[in-house]
């Protein structure tokens, strides 16, 4: 790690710990629930930032990858293995020790596939889909790319909404907790709140470290060069098609992992996670964060998702994200968190303080 990453990571970690201590001391731990969810959504946004902000490739279908992660683990871990003990595939799974026994909400024991296995399956599946769809999609540019990714997102949404296996409009619920090592588990049990907060925060911090490392490296520069001038990048020996595909798959995998963890945390998933509006709100947050700005995306991702999940926007939730898109694009294409805005803020603060002082002296 380098100093440029060091300091913000230290600050972020301090904030994470401080928030938990304060909230626990005030006996308001329920705040952590939405914050945990926001952290997972922010993980999607971080991946999208690299794809959109740095490599310059828009995706209006990232909710689809999130949903693929969530639905894959939901389908696989809610399947009762005990009920199909005779099936050779089930026998193989049990024989290899890939199963887990959990106690469900009603206190009954269920035998199901281990979430570790479903995580691996989900990541492989999403990566494969992103790879296959990415080959033709990433040849497109501008409006065509936007429409194609949007179309892909709608197809996934229609499929989960219209297929019995995915629970149609109801989605899938009653997922078992995802037991990690050392007694940690990702699940919705109130007793797991604090540890889930830290698990999500850990993933988010790890994600941002990995991606900042990536941006400031050989492949990272290659990605940014595609945004600058694809033709020049090619002439410098950058295989732009391959790099675009790689970053598309990478950001899809980030969304998928977030989907798997959040679905276990929530204990279920519904079709709204695959909706176009979800994808659009991810794009909005990347834009607010300043497009090519991982830390901006992280901060705005956590803040906006938290506000949205706490219901601060009321029935104007989508309206808020629509406004954000327009206002940011028209007036602050560099995003909200740029130095200039902070300077304006600081100047105003100084002016107010000065005025107050002047007022006192009189």
């Amino acid at each position: 790690m380098r100093p440029s990453v060091y300091i913000p990571v230290a600050v972020l970690t301090a904030c994470i710990i401080a928030f938990q201590i304060i909230v626990s001391a005030l006996n308001r731990e329920f705040y952590l629930t939405q914050l945990t969810m926001s952290a997972y959504y922010s993980l999607v946004i971080l991946g999208l930032t690299v794809l959109m902000g740095y490599a310059g490739q828009i995706s209006l279908g990232h909710a689809a990858f999130f949903a693929m992660g969530g639905y894959t683990t939901a389908v696989l871990t809610t399947y009762n293995l005990a009920g199909a003990a005779g099936n050779p595939l089930v026998k193989l799974v049990v024989g290899l020790g890939l199963d887990t026994v959990s106690t469900n909400a009603y206190g009954a024991q269920t035998q199901h596939l281990s979430p570790w296995v479903s995580l691996v399956v989900a990541v492989c599946l999403t990566a494969a889909v992103a790879f296959l769809i990415g080959i033709p999609i990433l040849k497109l540019k501008g409006h065509y790319l936007a429409m194609a990714t949007l179309g892909f997102g709608i197809i996934v949404y229609r499929i989960v909404l219209g297929t019995r296996m995915f629970g149609e409009a109801d989605g899938i619920s009653d997922l078992p907790a995802f037991r990690l090592a050392g007694g940690l588990a990702v699940g919705g049990d109130p007793g797991l709140r604090v540890q889930n907060y830290y698990i999500a925060a850990f993933l988010l911090v790890a994600g941002v470290i990995l991606l900042t490392n990536l941006i400031d490296s050989r492949p990272g520069r290659a990605l940014r060069s595609i945004h600058g001038s694809e033709e020049a990048a090619n002439a410098m020996g950058v295989n732009t098609a391959r790099y675009k595909l790689s970053v598309f798959v990478l950001s899809a995998v980030f969304a998928c992992i977030a989907g798997v963890f959040l679905t276990h945390f929530n204990g279920g998933i519904g079709p709204s996670e695959a909706e176009v509006m979800k994808s659009v709100s991810y794009v909005a947050i990347v834009a607010v964060g300043g497009m090519a700005n991982l830390w901006g995306a992280l901060v705005m991702g956590v803040v906006l998702n938290y506000l949205s999940l706490r219901g601060y926007f009321g029935s104007y939730d989508e309206f808020v994200f629509g406004c954000i898109l327009i206002v940011i694009m028209l007036f602050m294409p560099e995003g909200l968190l740029i130095k200039e805005n902070f300077r304006i803020l600081a100047d105003t603060a100084v002016r107010i303080v000065n005025k107050c002082r002047a007022g006192k002296q009189e």
Partner: protein, 296 residues
């Protein structure tokens, strides 16, 4: 499949196809003068339909529709004044994001004005049970209205772009905006007119389909994506192509219902969109090289 049933499918395909064609032409008008794909195009249909429904409660139908078209067209002008003019040499990414933002805003405002209820205009002639027998297929007279109005819109635009000064100026902008500006054409006004025009025809289309498909605050998105499919299929910017493309997509969609579950209907037309984008992004009638030249 018996002949009558086939004919029934064909009629329903052509009906929705002609609406998709109108949406596609709306895309084309704005695309030609600005190079922007207006993601809020579908919202114009919703807005037109909803406004007419509200106005119809205290004025006769033709007047309500006329007023709805004018109001929606004013909204189109407003969008250009407030938002589009502020975009100075925007990247495609910015334009896409702004028009998506617009579509969300219009939709959410509609949600708060008209709530989630599904509404519709009355049938222009007869009622929902009236039907006309054409060679064994029973169709609603509203279908004829849809076809007729679409035909009139296409004919009107043909005349407008060919024979009026404004229409010709808009075409000049489409082929070379700098040259048009040098010839003294006020290109900014042309952009405003293109937004008004495509909002107006969107609103009119939104009114005529309202009795059949009904209108809800969020019905714009799926119409927009199908309209875009059609615009791409016909070759972006090409209105003859849009009509042919619209009928093809409409027929394919109608036929797909007979073999696939209804829930996947939208997925099918979008899958067609993806296939066209991958295989031939210049569309059926578009020239390959022309598509390559327009910087996307």
């Amino acid at each position: 499949m018996p002949f009558e049933q086939l004919l029934q499918y064909i009629f329903s395909g052509i009906t929705s196809g002609s609406i998709y064609a109108i949406v596609a032409i709306g895309f084309n008008i704005i695309y030609n003068t600005t190079g922007i794909i207006n993601f809020a195009q579908g919202e114009f249909l919703m807005l037109g339909g909803m406004t007419a429904i509200s106005l119809h409660s205290f004025m006769p139908l033709p007047l309500a529709i006329l007023a709805a078209v004018i109001i929606t067209s004013a909204v189109g002008a407003l969008i250009d004044f407030i938002f589009i003019r502020r975009l100075k040499s925007p990247s495609v990414l910015n334009m896409v994001i702004v028009t998506i933002g617009l579509s969300i805003m219009i939709r959410e405002i509609a949600l708060h004005v008209w709530d989630e209820k599904v509404r519709s205009l009355p049938y222009f002639t007869g009622s929902e049970v009236t039907s006309i027998n054409i060679m064994g297929a029973y169709i609603s007279p509203q279908v004829l209205w849809v076809l007729g109005v679409s035909g009139v819109i296409v004919a009107f635009l043909g005349v407008f772009f060919r024979f009026t000064l404004t229409g010709r100026s808009m075409r000049a902008c489409a082929s070379n905006i700098t040259a048009a500006r040098l010839c003294g054409i006020n290109t900014k006004n042309m952009v405003t007119i293109s937004f008004m025009l495509s909002a107006a025809i969107g609103a009119l289309a939104g009114c005529v389909i309202s009795p059949i498909t009904q209108t809800q605050y969020d019905c714009g998105t799926s119409l927009a994506i199908k309209g875009f499919t059609v615009a791409i299929l016909g070759g972006l910017g090409n209105s003859t192509g849009a009509v042919i493309g619209g009928i093809i997509i409409g027929l394919l969609e109608a036929m797909s219902i007979s073999i696939m579950p209804l829930a996947y209907k939208d997925a099918i037309s979008i899958a067609i969109l993806l296939i066209i984008l991958f295989a031939r992004p210049s569309g059926l009638l578009g020239k390959r090289e022309a598509a390559g030249l327009k910087e996307f």
